[in-house]
Every structure is written in structure tokens, then in C-alpha cells.
């Protein structure tokens, strides 16, 4: 059986496209992947995911 399609990712990217976001898709994908990896972390333990998102943003904003 093949792996499922990532419906959450599809919804995320489509919403970004409809909102005419200027954030590049690769940045969106990286951020989404972080959230996907840490989707089952406790609410009280979001620090790791948040730090990783910041790193992606640092890199992106630094490149602007």
C-alpha cells in the first residue's frame, strides 16, 4: 500500500497560494515539516519546534 498524501500540507500550501503569500514555497515547506515532526509534542514542550522555525526565518530573512 502506498503512503498517504499529506492533506495537511496540501491545505497549507493551497491556502498560502490563495492568499498570494510572498513567502517562498521552500520556506513554507520547511516550516510545515517542523510542525509535522513535532505535531505530537506536548503544548508545554513547543520550545524545540519554535526554535527550529526561528532558524528557518533567520535564514530566510537574512537572505532578503
Amino acid at each position: 500500500m502506498k503512503n498517504r498524501e499529506d492533506k495537511a500540507l496540501e491545505a497549507f500550501i493551497q491556502t498560502a497560494q490563495e492568499s498570494s503569500s510572498e513567502i517562498p514555497e521552500n520556506v513554507l515547506l520547511e516550516i510545515y515539516q517542523i510542525e509535522k515532526n513535532y505535531q505530537y509534542s506536548d503544548e508545554s514542550d513547543r520550545g524545540v519546534a519554535i526554535r527550529e522555525i526561528e532558524k528557518v526565518l533567520d535564514k530566510y530573512i537574512g537572505s532578503l
Binding site: 492533506k7 491545505a11 492568499s19 503569500s21 530573512i61
Partner: protein, 665 residues
């Protein structure tokens, strides 16, 4: 794709000692593992061992965590060995994993009583390398996250929970819905929304500091104030949620208490019933005792029995003798009478009057004398009165001997014995029930508890309304912040600042995450509805249904061919709908993986069991079925044969208490 490889248990629940091993089938086409076992032999414990290996804790059917003492094998505990262990080997994403968990009593504790008296150790190896606890948790969250484990490690008896999805305000339904959204990936987006919101606040605060002495400091100040207001609302929401959790815990406790009280009430009823029975038995025994007393008053007859038998024998002999004498005397008298007749009629025959030339008068006299001598020799002339007296005595003796005192006493004694045994049993039942009962429960107590529960439920509804109000206040603040942010973004002082870029991008990300949640939910519902309908059409025997319709809670209703909802009356149909939903969620929300089902066919008939067995192996990497005898039959097993990778049986050990796992050929 995850696949279980091997499971080893030592002193875990009913599996006493070590050597309890299951090797899972890894063949793509022979991917069914069957574990046979009677109820109470340990099928659910096996499921729990998998859950415990993966997550380090396991709950009972009331969602209460099972203590180490209850996970430990009882025989082992009695022997003073307080160590149990589970080792699980599995593969996923081209890596091999080994989880070893063991629990043992702390060195200083000789008789552990609660979890604090135990030490829990675990090793999580990935391709031979031991991971840290955090790494291990992260790996498990990626491969087999606990929040969605109910969809692949499930207890067939809990399928009923899915029916609560059809009720709007059901607490169980809410929990199931939350799990469903977790398997469908909604947390990726909802956490994204929350994380970007947290980061936005951080960068807005930074921006506010940077803009303190600029023209837009007022706007920045307003944003700061709004952020503070949001924080207050968020705190309020957190506090309210904590209150709801506490109220819910109290409701759970009250529900348990009501359950206990109702149980006690049943016990009290049973005791009353038993007391009635005891009274009846005692009264019967009293009646029987009286009858026995009465019977004993004529039991002297029994003492005379040997003597009476002797007398009876003698009396019978006497009677026989007298009868014989009567007969002899009768015969002799008859002869004398004949001879006398011959004399009287000149030796002619009395009847034909013919003369008898051979008999002379002397001969006749001699004969008469001889007979008379014989009569004299007999000596007594039978006295009818004597005979009558003897006969009457005989009747008395017979009546005494034939009386039923003996039988009556015997049957009364038997009956009294039986009743006494019944009495002892009932009294012992009463004692047992009384010890179970403790303090007697009252109807008032139950009513009070229900009232408390009702009050708490009402307060939860109010608290949830408060949360909605707080959330709308936050949304209003956020909208205002957005407008103010746009103003700042356009300002000369802020537009080129990196912090403004962070704020702007995070705000955009937050919008994307927020808006994509509703989109995802709508799409998922459509997809789950479609896949569940497909599964349902393959699983249901009767082809009169059009499919399933999903509601906002992911509850499913059967539709007939006219598209109308069909009320679910059969528990079997409900189970098929629940299985269709689980299959749809599994196919929509996670990569193919193992599915373990404990007692999966409980409410289904043979036709539907076979349909499920035909269908499910296609949608899982491995299908583990823990079944009791009543759930399978030879025909079904024959049909499955080509897909069965291995079969095990849970048997009792020689002590008839503990279980063991046996591989079947």
C-alpha cells in the same frame, strides 16, 4: 512503513516467567498474525504489553493508568520477585528498533505498594544505537504517535465509543474527535498557528522596544496593550480549561461513585433477597423438625421390630398349624360321618342305596374307633376363638411392622440435611455480600451524586461558553493588531527594520496556518466520508445501502439508496460503521502500518467476520487479530489460510492461573 518483528514478555500480567515470545509475520502477502485465547487468558494483556513497550504506560478501559503492581505478574509478586520486562523489536523507515522496558522494586523496598516503590528503566535502540529519552520520544511520535494509537492498537470492545461521535455534546465523542483530528494531521496546522502566534508576540514586543522613540511609538504601544489584553484572555482560557479538567475529573469520580453505589445497591438488594430465603429455609427446617418430633413419638415401634418379627413368625406358624388341624379334624369327622351312615343304612351305600357285601358291621365299628383314636390323639379340638385371637394379634403385629415411621424419619432427616446445607450456603453468601457491601448505600446518596454531576456538567457548559467569549475577544484584538501592524509596516521608521520583517512574515504565516485548518477539516471530512463509504460497501453484506454520511464530529450515519439516513438498530451494523471509520482514518491519516485488534469480531455474524478478514489485511502492513474461540470457525480459518503468517495460542500454565504463549504449527 512500520512492522513489528518480535515481542518478548517476562512476568508481565498473566505471563509468568520468561520465554513468552511472539514473532510477527513480515511477509507482504502472509501478513496476518492470529493469536487464539479464551477470555481472561491474556489477549488484552498482550495488547497492553505492546502499548506499554511503545509508550511506557497503559490504561484500563476506564482510561485509568494501570499501576506497576497490576502490570506485574501476581505469582511472581507472591514469590517476592518484583521485576517485569517487555522487549519489542520493530522496523520502520529502513531502520531497526528495539525497545526494552523493565520495572523492578527499588533496592530499599522489600514490599512495593505503589509506583513510587518501583524503578522504571528503558532502552530505545535505533540501528543498535541507544537514543536519549527525548530522541526516543521524538522517534515514537514520528513512527507510531500515542495520540493516534487507538486506531492501530485497538480493543474491539471499545468500538462502541465511536457511536458517541453521533451525539453532539458527548464527552467521549469529544475525546474521540480529538484523536481523529490528531491522526488526520490537524495538529500540524493548529500547532503551527499557535507557534507562529507565540513568535509573533515575541517579535512584536521586540519591535515595540525598537520603536519607543519614533513617530509610531503610539501605535506600537497600542499593539503592546492589545498583546497584554490577549495574554489576559489566554490566561483566562487556560484557567477555565483547568477548571473544566478538574470538573471533568470530579464527574468521572462521581460516575465511578454512582457506579459503586449502584453496585452496592444491587448487593443490598441481593442481601435482602438472601435474608428472605434464609427465613424461608429456617421456617422449613422448623416445620420439618416438628414433623420429625411427631414421627419420633411413634418411633418406639422401631425398637420393637426385632421382637415383633419373631412373634409374627411364631404366630404365623401357629396359624398354619391350627389350619392344618382344622383340615385334619374336618377330614376325620367326615370319615366318621360316612361310616356312621353305612351303619344306619344297613351297610348300603348312602348315595346309591346299593349294599356293600364286603363291609361288615364289625369292620365299620373298628374303623370308626381307629378314627376316633386319631381324633383323640390330635387331642385338641380346634377352638375358633383361639384362632380368631391369634389372627387378630397377627393383624396388630402386621400393622406395627408395616407402619412408615422409619421411612418418614429417613426422608425427614434427608430433607433437614438438605435444608441445613442450603442454609449454611445462604448464610455464607450473606456474609460475603456484607463484606462487599461495606456501608450500606441509599437511594438518596445516588440522587445526591446525580445532582452533583448535573451541576458540574452545567458548569462545564458555562465554562465552555466563557472560553468561546474569550476566544472572540482575542480574535477582535488580533484584528486590531493586524490593522495597526499594517500602519507600522508602512511607516518610514519601521519598514526596513528586520524585526518588522519577522513580525510581518510571522503574521502572514499565522494567517496561512489558521485558514488552512478549516480547509483541511472540510477536505478531510469529505475524504473520510468517501473512504469510509468504500470500506462500508465492502464490509457490509446487504447491498441496500448507498454509503455513509459524516457529521462535524466525524460521526457516520448509514444512508439508504434514496439517500436518507437509516437509524442504526443493530449493534453489528454499528461495529461495521466503526470499523469503516477506523479504516478510513487509517488510510487517510497515516502511512500503512501494523494494526492490532483485540476481540475484533465481538458483535458480528460469520458473514461479516469473513468480509472483514478479507478486507483489512489489504489496508495494513500487518494485521494482528487476538481472537477467542467464538470469533472464528474452521471455514473462516481455511479461507484466511493463505494470508496467515503465523498463529499463536494463549494457554494456561500447569498452575491453571498463569498463561503462556504457544506457537501453533
Amino acid at each position: 512503513m512500520m512492522k513489528f518483528l518480535k515481542l518478548n514478555l517476562k512476568n508481565f500480567m498473566p505471563f509468568y516467567g520468561d520465554g513468552h515470545e511472539i514473532k510477527f509475520p513480515t511477509d507482504e502477502y502472509k501478513n496476518i498474525l492470529l493469536v487464539h485465547g479464551y477470555n481472561t487468558y491474556g489477549k488484552t494483556s498482550l495488547l497492553r504489553s505492546l502499548r506499554w513497550a511503545l509508550y511506557g504506560h497503559v490504561s484500563d478501559k476506564f482510561d485509568r493508568e494501570i499501576s506497576y503492581l497490576d502490570l506485574l505478574n501476581r505469582t511472581s509478586a507472591k514469590e517476592g520477585n518484583y521485576k517485569f520486562e517487555v522487549v519489542l523489536d520493530f522496523q520502520a523507515n529502513d531502520s531497526v528498533y528495539k525497545i526494552t522496558r523493565n520495572v523492578s522494586s527499588k533496592e530499599s523496598i522489600s514490599n512495593p505498594l505503589n509506583n513510587n516503590d518501583f524503578m522504571h528503566q528503558s532502552w530505545f535502540k535505533k540501528d543498535g544505537t541507544v537514543l536519549t529519552d527525548e530522541e526516543a520520544e521524538h522517534e515514537i511520535n514520528l513512527i507510531a504517535p500515542e495520540p493516534v494509537s487507538r486506531f492501530f492498537l485497538f480493543d474491539g470492545e471499545l468500538l462502541k465509543e465511536y457511536e458517541h461521535l453521533l451525539e453532539e455534546d458527548s464527552e467521549v465523542g469529544k475525546k474521540v474527535k480529538e484523536s481523529i483530528e490528531q491522526i488526520l494531521g490537524v495538529p500540524s496546522l493548529s500547532n503551527g498557528r499557535n507557534d507562529t502566534s507565540t513568535l509573533s508576540k515575541k517579535y512584536r514586543a521586540k519591535q515595540n522596544k525598537e520603536l519607543k522613540k519614533t513617530n509610531v511609538s503610539d501605535i506600537s504601544g497600542q499593539i503592546e496593550e492589545l498583546d497584554k489584553t490577549i495574554e489576559i484572555h489566554e490566561k483566562e482560557i487556560l484557567d477555565t480549561k483547568a477548571l473544566i479538567t478538574r470538573s471533568q475529573s470530579r464527574i468521572d469520580l462521581i460516575a465511578e461513585n454512582i457506579n459503586n453505589i449502584e453496585e452496592k445497591s444491587k448487593i443490598a438488594d441481593e442481601i435482602t433477597e438472601i435474608q428472605g430465603e434464609i427465613r424461608e429455609i429456617k421456617s422449613s427446617i422448623k416445620d420439618l423438625d416438628n414433623k420429625r418430633l411427631e414421627a419420633t413419638s411413634s418411633a418406639w415401634k422401631l425398637l420393637l421390630k426385632p421382637k415383633l418379627l419373631k412373634i409374627q413368625k411364631e404366630s404365623l406358624t401357629n396359624i398354619k398349624n391350627i389350619v392344618k388341624q382344622f383340615e385334619k379334624v374336618g377330614e376325620l369327622n367326615k370319615e366318621i360321618s360316612l361310616l356312621s351312615n353305612l351303619e344306619l343304612h344297613d351297610q348300603s351305600c348312602e348315595i346309591c342305596n346299593t349294599k356293600s357285601p364286603n363291609i361288615d358291621a364289625n369292620t365299620l365299628v373298628n374303623k370308626k374307633n381307629i378314627i376316633q383314636e386319631e381324633l383323640n390323639r390330635i387331642g385338641i379340638s380346634p377352638d375358633y376363638l383361639d384362632f380368631s385371637k391369634i389372627n387378630s394379634n397377627q393383624e396388630i403385629i402386621d400393622s406395627l411392622l408395616n407402619s412408615n415411621e422409619e421411612r418418614t424419619l429417613k426422608s425427614l432427616d434427608d430433607e433437614i440435611d438438605n435444608k441445613s446445607v442450603q442454609l449454611v450456603k445462604k448464610e455464607s453468601d450473606e456474609i460475603t455480600l456484607r463484606s462487599d457491601l461495606g456501608d450500606e448505600a441509599t437511594v438518596k446518596e445516588i440522587t445526591d451524586e446525580y445532582q452533583k454531576m448535573g451541576g458540574l456538567k452545567e458548569s462545564i457548559v458555562n465554562l465552555e461558553t466563557n472560553i468561546q467569549t474569550e476566544k472572540s475577544s482575542i480574535t477582535t484584538c488580533e484584528k486590531q493588531i493586524k490593522l495597526l501592524e499594517d500602519l507600522i509596516k508602512e511607516s518610514e521608521e519601521a519598514k526596513d527594520s528586520p524585526t518588522t520583517k519577522y513580525v510581518s512574515i510571522l503574521s502572514e504565516l499565522n494567517d496561512i496556518f489558521s485558514n488552512s485548518i478549516d480547509r483541511l477539516r472540510d477536505e478531510l471530512k469529505k475524504e473520510v466520508e468517501q473512504k469510509a463509504s468504500e470500506a462500508f460497501s465492502k464490509l457490509i453484506h446487504r447491498k441496500i445501502y448507498d454509503g455513509l454520511k459524516i457529521n462535524n464530529n466525524y460521526g457516520l450515519q448509514i444512508l439508504n439508496q434514496e439517500g436518507d439516513e437509516v437509524p442504526m438498530k443493530s449493534s453489528g451494523a454499528e461495529q461495521i460503521v466503526a470499523l469503516s471509520l477506523i479504516d478510513a482514518l487509517s488510510r487517510t491519516g497515516r502511512d500503512s502500518g501494523p494494526v492490532v485488534m483485540d476481540t475484533p469480531f465481538g458483535r458480528l455474524d460469520d458473514v461479516h467476520r469473513e468480509k472483514i478478514v478479507e478486507y483489512l489485511p489489504e489496508s495494513a502492513s500487518q494485521l494482528m487479530l487476538f481472537v477467542h474461540k467464538g470469533e472464528t470457525n474452521d471455514e473462516m480459518l481455511e479461507k484466511m489460510a493463505s494470508q496467515i503468517g503465523s498463529q499463536y495460542k494463549i494457554d494456561l500454565q500447569d498452575d491453571e492461573i498463569n498463561s503462556l504463549i504457544r506457537k501453533m504449527n
